[in-house]
Every structure is written in structure tokens, then in C-alpha cells.
């Protein structure tokens, strides 16, 4: 009952945020200097083409009418049409989003596999070289520009060693092995930053838990340090890390913009960059809106997860 009430309350706060996000995304178009119809027409500068665009996109109507028309269409899944390719924006999004989700999932696996053990080592060995190395690694992961890391990895593993493809993407249904191989470098590049964040949070959570009373009691009972860490401390320390990972997944979706650009992966990130250069404003708006919606839903999921796994929150709302 408490969970249901909590979900309802959180949903209630999501809806106004989503409406405001839609207003902001729509308002982005108003920032285009001059006439947006001229900007969309680009080199095709004849008056008839511009007038057609103006009528088609409703630029000749009052702004609030334009917004309600646009949001009305968006709620039915109609984000408009790509002006140049004559393709529905929704189709483009549906085509590109799964690629980015796969990349972000692989990157998250990399981040968790590296970040959690590194965080545990940073906390349990904080007085020696292993802990220092884990801390430096985390800080490097957060600080390294990912597009540079990508370029350096291409240089080493593709140009010099020739063991991994420098670019491209193979869909899993065509060749699963090639699909995985094509995503190895991009996943590592994209996952590095989040691995750094997870290392730092795991370290912080572990240090907090390791100094708590129940861990002291476990130690006093004579349990081996390995058992105390793995059976008692880690379980509780991982709660905030799991919820953080849900939120960080959203960051990976946006971080994929540069990774996809470097490795020529035809995903969501590459779609937004290509749309920016082709002045496909409807696609840019659609991508930003979908990204923000996913981000909001992931935050919602993180809150629900935190509520489910944290007994204190359950009793506070019970």
C-alpha cells in the first residue's frame, strides 16, 4: 500500500515536469535567429518553398497555437517529419534508440564491473598503494575527455595493433559476434566516466558502512574481514550504488553523442548531431524530448528502487 501511494505521489510530480520540459523543448525553436522557415529551407531559398514550410510547420500561426498543435501531435507519437529525408521523426527515433540503448547497457556493464571492485578496494585498502591506485583511476576516469580516449584507443587497437574495428556497427541479428566486437571499444570509452563515478560512490558508501555499529559487532564476533566486507558491508553499501547506476544510465544515453560520433555508430547521439548540421529542428526537438523523458523515467525508477530496498523509507511513508 505504501509503495502504491509513493508511486502515485511521484507520478504526480513527474507530469508537471514533463509538461514544462515540453514547453522548454518547444521554446528552443524560438531561439533560431530570424525566420525558422528560412533556416529550415537552407540553400533552397525560393519564396514558394519557404512559404510551404511556414504553412506546413504552422510558423504563420500564434505561438501558443503552434505549441498546442505540436504537443497534441507528440502525445500521439507524431514528432513531425524530417524535412530533408521525408521520414517520420518517430520512425528515426525508433530506429536509432535501440542502438544507443545497447551501447549504454554494455557501457554500464563495463562501469559496474570496474567501478564496484575498484570502489571496494579504494575503501578497504585506503591506507596502501592499492587504494591510492583505485582513487587515481577513478579520478582519471572522471577527468579524461571521452572523445580523446576514443581516438587514442582507435590509434592503439585499430591503427597499430589492428585487433578491433575503428568504426561501424553491425546489428545483432545480422552477426552477433561482430556486433559485440564492434561495441567493445565504444563501451569502454563510454563506461569509463561512469566507472569513475561508481568507484567514488562505492568507496564512500563502503567507508560509511564499515564504520557502522553492526559491522563493528560482526568484527567483534570474530568474523574474518573478507566475510565482514562481502556478506555484511557490501550488501548495504550497494543500495545507493544501484540507484545511482539507474540515474547514470541516463547520463550514458547523452554521453553516447560523442562516442557514436567517433566510432560512427548510427545511434541516437549521431542522429542529434547530424540533425543539428542538417538544420533538422524537428528531429533535434524530438530527440531532446525523448532523452529528457527517458531521464525523468530513470530518475523515477531510481526513486522506486530506493524505496523498495531501503526499509527506512518504507516505514517513513508507511
Amino acid at each position: 500500500m505504501a509503495l502504491g501511494w509513493y508511486i502515485l505521489r511521484r507520478l504526480g510530480s513527474i507530469i508537471p515536469t514533463l509538461i514544462l520540459v515540453s514547453v522548454i523543448v518547444f521554446a528552443l525553436q524560438q531561439l533560431i535567429p530570424g525566420d525558422p522557415a528560412v533556416a529550415i529551407a537552407g540553400d533552397e531559398l525560393n519564396e514558394q518553398a519557404i512559404q510551404e514550410i511556414r504553412t506546413k510547420y504552422g510558423f504563420d500561426q500564434p505561438i501558443y497555437v503552434q505549441y498546442f498543435k505540436w504537443i497534441g501531435n507528440v502525445t500521439t507519437g507524431d514528432f513531425g517529419e524530417s524535412y530533408r529525408n521525408k521520414v517520420e521523426v518517430a520512425d528515426l527515433i525508433l530506429q536509432k534508440l535501440p542502438v544507443t540503448i545497447q551501447l549504454a547497457t554494455f557501457a554500464m556493464i563495463v562501469a559496474l564491473v570496474v567501478g564496484i571492485p575498484a570502489g571496494i578496494l579504494a575503501a578497504t585498502c585506503k591506507q596502501n598503494a592499492v587504494g591510492t591506485a583505485a582513487n587515481i583511476l577513478a579520478l582519471s576516469g572522471i577527468s579524461i575527455p571521452h572523445f580523446w580516449l576514443g581516438i587514442m584507443m582507435i590509434l592503439i587497437f585499430s591503427v597499430n595493433l589492428g585487433i578491433l574495428p575503428a568504426s561501424g556497427y553491425v546489428p545483432p541479428w545480422e552477426d552477433l559476434r561482430q556486433n559485440i566486437v564492434s561495441l567493445i571499444m565504444p563501451s569502454i570509452v563510454l563506461g569509463t566516466g561512469v566507472a569513475g563515478v561508481i568507484t567514488r560512490h562505492t568507496r564512500g558508501a563502503m567507508l560509511q558502512v564499515l564504520s557502522s555499529d553492526y559491522v563493528r559487532t560482526a568484527r567483534a564476533k570474530g568474523l574474518a574481514e573478507r566475510v565482514v566486507v562481502s556478506k555484511h558491508a557490501l550488501k548495504n553499501a550497494l543500495i545507493p550504488v544501484i540507484t545511482l547506476s539507474t540515474i547514470e544510465f541516463g547520463q550514458l544515453l547523452s554521453g553516447a553523442i560523442l562516442t557514436e560520433q567517433i566510432f560512427s555508430i548510427p545511434g541516437f547521439g549521431k542522429l542529434i548531431v547530424d540533425s543539428v548540421f542538417n538544420r533538422e529542428y524537428a528531429v533535434v526537438q524530438g530527440v531532446v524530448l525523448v532523452t529528457a523523458t527517458i531521464f525523468i523515467l530513470l530518475n523515477f525508477l531510481a526513486d522506486i528502487l530506493y524505496f523498495v530496498v531501503n526499509p527506512r523509507m518504507r516505514s517513513a511513508h508507511g
Binding site: 547523452s254 560520433q261 540533425s275 533535434v284
Partner: protein, 292 residues
Amino acid sequence: MADVSISAARPGRRLVNNRTLRRFLAHRPAVIAAIILLIFAVVAVLAPVIAPYDPIKSDFLAVRQGPSLAHWMGTDELGRDTLSRLIYGARVSLMAGIVPVVLALVVAVPLGLLSGYAGGIVDNVLMRITDALLAIPFLVLAIALTAMLGPGLFNAMLAIGVAAVPIFLRLSRGSAMAVMREDYIEAARAGGNSPLRIAFKHVLRNMMPPIFIQATLTVATAIVVEASLSFLGLGQRPPAASWGSMLNDAQRFLRVMPTMAMWPGLAIFIVVMSINIVGDGIRDAMDTHHRN
């Protein structure tokens, strides 16, 4: 982006006092990182004096050369000196790190103070807008804004600044609310001070430590985002040099001229890592993370 937790400050406490400074100076990695940043800042300011060549002047007799005595870091595809471009690029990167953060602070801190101090409907409206802006990832918002405003360094900095506003607004509001719960604010109220005087004289001054730390860390984020935008061709326009646009150029010549890609990325890495270490040092020195 790193989070800075909010804590109550002490009455009348200066942003940087002697104790804070002593603690910071005792943090050896942070001091070393601060010296590195100072060197980069000096290099950026003295670029016209230090740079051995004109960063935008092509020399077609010296195209894509490796490191030599004449060109310590080699030359690019147009024969321009990489070291000179790197030095001038430092100006762009440091400016792109600082200007958007100052812009965001100028907008967000007064609004955050207003939101936290006034509460009620003002707070509610501002926070809902902040929630909506925070829902759009930083880089996505910066790209979308730059796309609409048009490419260029000024627009990129403006876009980064706008994207950073909600981060500081949320933090300023929380910080203001934490300070307002303090006894000395109650005492100032009881002493008959006007709300405006309390807000600007007491609350604003004491809410700054966590904002200052976040500002330091956001400079690092802004540098990376500007480099990302320039890398994508949305930031600094050619032929002017920026570290991001140098990487963009380098990517095309990776097979024939791999060193071209090394220097600008290394420069971004060193500066961003130094800022993060200094940020950690300031946080530890101010101890806003652990005090409560």
C-alpha cells in the same frame, strides 16, 4: 558532475579564511594541481608573447611535420605550429570554463536566494522550471541550444552557461534554506533587520561555500563540454585554435599523423584533472561535506 552537499555555514564566516587556506595548503595533491592550473593560466594570458608562431598562419612547406627543434610538437595539415595552437587553445578553454560558470552564477544565485528565502509559490514555480531543465542532460541541452543559436564560441559559452543555471539554482536555493534555519538568522530577524538586509548581508554571504565548490567543479565540466562542442564543429570556428577543434582536425589524420591527436587531449585531461583535484581539496578544506 560531482555533487556538493549543503551544510549550514557559520555566522559571519568568510568564504576563505585562514584556517581553510591552511587546510587547503596541507592537501599536497591539491596544491600541486593548483600550481599546474596557474601555469596554464599564465601560458594562456601570455600566449602572444610565449607562442613561437602565429597559430593561424599556414606554412605549406612545413605540412604535417613531426616534432623537431623548429616545431617542438610538430605541425598540422596546414603547416601550422601545434605548440602555438595549443598555447592559444588554452585561452579558449580556460575562458570557456570560467565565462559560462560566472554567467550561470550571476543568474542562478540571486534566483536561488529568492527561491529559498521567499518560499511559497515563487519557490514552487522556480523549482519546477529547474526540475524540467535538469531533466535535459547537460550536453544535450548545450548542443540543442548551440544548434538553435548557431555555431560559434560565444554561443557555445552562452549555451553552457544556460545549461549550468539549474545546477546552481537548485544548490543556491538549498544552501539558502540551510542557512535560514540557523539561529543567527533568527537573531537578525529579532533584531529588527529588514528581510532584504538579512537576505543579502547574512544569507547570501553564508550560503556561498558549497556554491563555490560546485563552481570549481563546473568549470571542469564546462571545459569538457566546450571541447566537445568544438570537436563536433559547434564551438570555436576555424581557423582559430581550440583544443576541441584541434582534436577534430587530428581525427582525420590519425593514420598518418597520430601525434596531432595526443597533445590537445592531454592538455584537456591535465587541466580537467587538476580542477577536479583542486575542487576536492577545497571541499576538504571547507569541510562542507562532512560537517553535518
